[in-house]
């Protein structure tokens, strides 16, 4: 039994060093050498070096001149993430969806059937950086009006930001909202 215990302790120590230490060090080195930007979190910096956010992490947009992000169950808190965990029949869930829908319909001057459900339901992690193209196009007229630019030019900008499904079949077509908004600011000062 003493021997069994010795083996257990020594095996735990050696594998802890190898996996907790060595394995992480190896992947860290690969990351630094090959993918330094991704390894630090795909951060976006302005010309003056200020970090605006991460291209993978949704942030909150409330002003009319910006496209709004996918609703978040945690108000875009990227330090404590999560979904709403609302079940499909939960009255609170249906109420929240109805409220978001009312807001979107007023804001975009749209009917309910024009509103893609992604725009009124919360994402899984609360930080979904994307919206489907239809949910972005719905906001184009409002954004164009707020910026005093022709809506066609906003639509053109959207079109260049649509990421198709990977290899044509994996995942969904989508638009990165933060990148689109940064492009808006650049295009229409």
């Amino acid at each position: 039994m003493i021997r069994q215990l010795q083996l257990g302790i020594r095996f735990t120590l050696v594998t802890m060093v190898m996996l907790g230490g060595g394995y992480h060090a190896a992947l860290w080195a690969i990351g630094q050498a090959a993918f330094p930007s991704q390894a630090e979190g795909s951060l976006i910096r302005r010309a003056d070096g200020i970090i605006v956010g991460s291209r993978l992490i949704a942030q909150k947009f409330t002003r009319p001149e910006y496209f709004q992000s996918r609703p978040s169950g945690v108000d875009y808190n990227a330090a404590s993430t999560g979904g709403t965990n609302h079940g499909p029949s939960n009255p609170d869930h249906l109420k929240a969806v109805q409220e978001r829908l009312d807001a979107v319909m007023t804001q975009e001057n749209a009917t309910a059937s024009q509103v893609p459900s992604e725009l009124v339901t919360a994402s899984g992690g609360g930080l979904d950086p994307h919206l489907p193209p239809a949910a972005v196009e719905l906001q184009a007229a409002r954004v164009a009006a707020a910026r005093n630019v022709p809506v066609e030019r906003v639509r053109e900008l959207i079109a260049t930001h649509i990421e198709p499904p990977t290899l044509g079949f994996l995942g969904r077509a989508r638009v990165n909202v933060l990148e689109l908004n940064l492009a808006l600011d650049e295009e229409f000062q």
């Binding site: 069994q4 010795q6 083996l7 257990g8 020594r10 095996f11 735990t12 594998t15 190898m18 907790g20 992480h24 992947l27 690969i30 990351g31 090959a34 993918f35 991704q38 390894a39 630090e40 979190g41 795909s42 951060l43 970090i51 605006v52 991460s54 993978l56 942030q59 909150k60 947009f61 002003r63 910006y66 875009y76 404590s80 993430t81 999560g82 709403t84 965990n85 079940g87 499909p88 029949s89 939960n90 009255p91 969806v97 109805q98 829908l101 509103v115 992604e118 725009l119 009124v120 899984g124 992690g125 930080l127 489907p132 239809a134 499904p165 990977t166 994996l170 995942g171 969904r172 989508r174």
Partner: protein, 570 residues
């Protein structure tokens, strides 16, 4: 709609094809044959064994093998419990995370030493980088390796002819860790970093958003953990929302690689069995039986999620992309539903959509996956569960035709069936009794919503949340209907105990069974032998799994998800 099925089909087919290669490789590793990776990995294996002080030629019977397994796991439990309880003062804690409270630490360490990865904490606020590396990721490797080792030993027992020994636990464990998980995890981790998963020792980022607000973005040593959480069917995520979080699962390609990682080793294990017992046809029959359970579940779940939520349809929004609450735009309904089924049949438990927000019947599929717990199953242990069902099916078929049941030429007798029954019946007992106790406590507490605060969702869905939690604990799965307020002493201790018992009973009982079968002489097959490698047997096995594995869960399925579904259809 149709692209959903294409993506799902391609993912499954690609995983099956590659599992053939890996199954052959694992066979070579565990039988000491040469492989292409030997020059790289053999020195590491030898080093680990030498430092540990293992004599690689020493053989163990099922008792010694089980003792080694338990002792090593107890040592790991104690060491990692100490780390989480002291993480505040240990290094690599840039975000100043506090020590873990004792009942939560008990739950967390029991969860990770049992390969369950049920998480009653949230990674970004509850764990230091040191804990993520030396507790979580470390355990995700060695507990997966424990499962593989146990499975290999059981297979040796089944294949053995008057065999007193099942192998050496530490040799199997080291080989699984160093020569199976480590190279795969390095490759998967690298792909994930390429796609955008962070790997940094720097603390959280303080960003100033476009509209000028502060956004604190948690990050850390994410990629190494995500790789092994999938490959080891662990499932415990770096961040609270697991692989829905864009850092853990940044792109559809990352999602593809992670989906592949969840099932690749459990699938390969079936082929490894075929090689080890020299019966490829048996492996094909078992694999086909598993597919015949898995594929219908996937198709059904995709249909449910793509079909949307009737209550949302009634509100009038455009639901053409299916039910979207709790799902990420980049994956959509199809890949989310595929993942929900895959992660639960395999006892992985990671999620790429919030299961609590799945449609009622879409959410029933993960429950079914955990109730069966053997379709591919967790690395090692899931396949052990399947082998137990195979033995029971042999027994049932033997009784039906009036012959002495035999498996691989060996008589299956009372002792084996008793051990198999113990392993099989513990699972529903833990789930149903646990859910019953929780429901009783909820129902007899005055104003439970305020006093207990467990359930986020009312009615049938609230019942499903409790049912899901015990199913997940007993299946060593780790996913959750996360609306459950589970970080309370009741849930921490009850599910902690269920996880421990549900891990070790279904490992030790089959090891004993394998030990009992190993010493029996294998009789040559005759024309009167009931062949286990036939389509007829595959169908029998399928039926035994469905009837024995699912029927007793029928009442709770009706009380929870089916009741909610009918209410929504009204």
């Amino acid at each position: 709609m149709s692209t959903e099925y294409v993506a799902v089909g391609v993912t499954i087919l690609f995983t099956i094809a590659t599992s053939l290669v890996l199954g052959r490789y694992m066979f070579k590793v565990f039988t000491g044959k040469r492989t292409l990776l030997d020059p790289l990995l053999l020195p590491i294996e030898k080093l680990v064994l030498r430092v540990t002080g293992v004599d690689p030629d020493e053989q163990q019977g099922w008792r010694q093998y089980s003792v080694s397994l338990l002792v090593s796991n107890i040592v790991m439990w104690l060491a990692t419990f100490a780390i989480v309880s002291l993480q505040k003062v240990l290094p690599l804690n840039p975000d100043g995370i506090a020590n873990m409270e004792p009942t939560l630490a008990f739950n967390t360490i029991s969860s990770f030493t049992t390969n369950t990865n049920l998480q009653h904490y949230s990674g970004e606020t509850g764990l230091s980088y040191f804990t993520q590396m030396f507790v979580i990721t470390f355990l995700q490797f060695v507990t997966a390796a424990t499962g593989v080792a146990a499975c290999i030993a059981v297979i040796r027992g089944l294949a053995g002819n008057r065999l007193a020994q099942l192998g050496n636990f530490y040799v199997d464990m080291t080989r699984a860790t160093v020569r199976v998980f480590l190279p795969l995890a390095l490759v998967v981790g690298t792909i994930l970093m390429w796609q955008g998963t962070p790997m940094t020792f720097e603390g959280a980022v303080h960003a100033t958003t476009v509209e000028g607000q502060e956004q604190v973005i948690a990050r850390g040593v994410v990629a190494p953990e995500v790789a092994i959480k999938q490959l080891g069917t662990n499932g415990g995520g770096y961040f609270g929302p697991n692989s829905t979080h864009p850092y853990e699962n940044p792109t559809p390609l990352a999602n593809f690689v992670e989906s592949w990682s969840i099932t690749i080793i459990p699938m390969a294990m079936v082929w490894t069995l075929g090689y080890m017992v020299s019966r490829r046809r048996l492996a094909v029959v078992i694999f086909a039986t598993m597919l015949a359970l898995y594929v219908p579940m996937v198709i059904f779940a995709v249909g449910q999620e793509a079909g949307g939520n009737p209550a949302i349809a009634a509100i009038g929004v455009d639901q053409s992309t299916g039910s979207t609450e709790g799902k990420e735009v980049r994956f959509g309904a199809g890949l989310s539903a595929l993942w929900a089924v895959t992660t639960t049949v395999t006892s992985n438990g990671s999620v790429n959509a919030m299961h609590d927000s799945l449609t009622p019947l879409g959410g029933l599929m993960p429950l079914v996956g955990m109730w069966l717990n053997n379709i591919f199953g967790g690395v090692g242990v899931g396949f052990i569960n399947m082998l137990i069902f195979v033995i029971v099916a042999v027994f049932v078929a033997g009784m039906m035709v009036g012959r002495t049941p035999e498996f691989l030429g060996k008589k299956v007798e009372g002792k084996e069936i008793k051990l198999a029954s113990l392993a099989l019946l513990w699972h529903p007992l833990a789930i149903l009794a646990g859910t019953a106790v929780a429901s009783y406590v909820w129902a007899t507490t005055a104003d439970p919503g305020t006093t207990l605060g467990w359930l986020k969702n009312p009615g049938a869905h609230g019942f499903s949340e409790m049912l899901y939690e015990f199913s997940s604990a007993a299946a060593n799965n780790g996913s959750g209907f996360e609306g459950l307020g589970d970080n309370t002493p009741f849930w921490n201790i009850s599910t902690g105990l269920v996880m421990l018992l549900s891990r070790y009973i279904p490992i030790i009982a089959p090891l004993a069974l394998a030990g009992a079968l190993a010493i029996k002489p294998a009789a040559p097959e005759t024309s009167g032998t009931l062949r286990a490698d036939s389509a007829t047997f595959g169908f029998t096995l399928w039926a035994v799994i469905v009837i024995l594995g699912l029927l007793m869960f029928m009442p709770v399925a009706v009380l929870g998800p089916i009741a909610e579904h009918l209410a929504l259809m009204k």
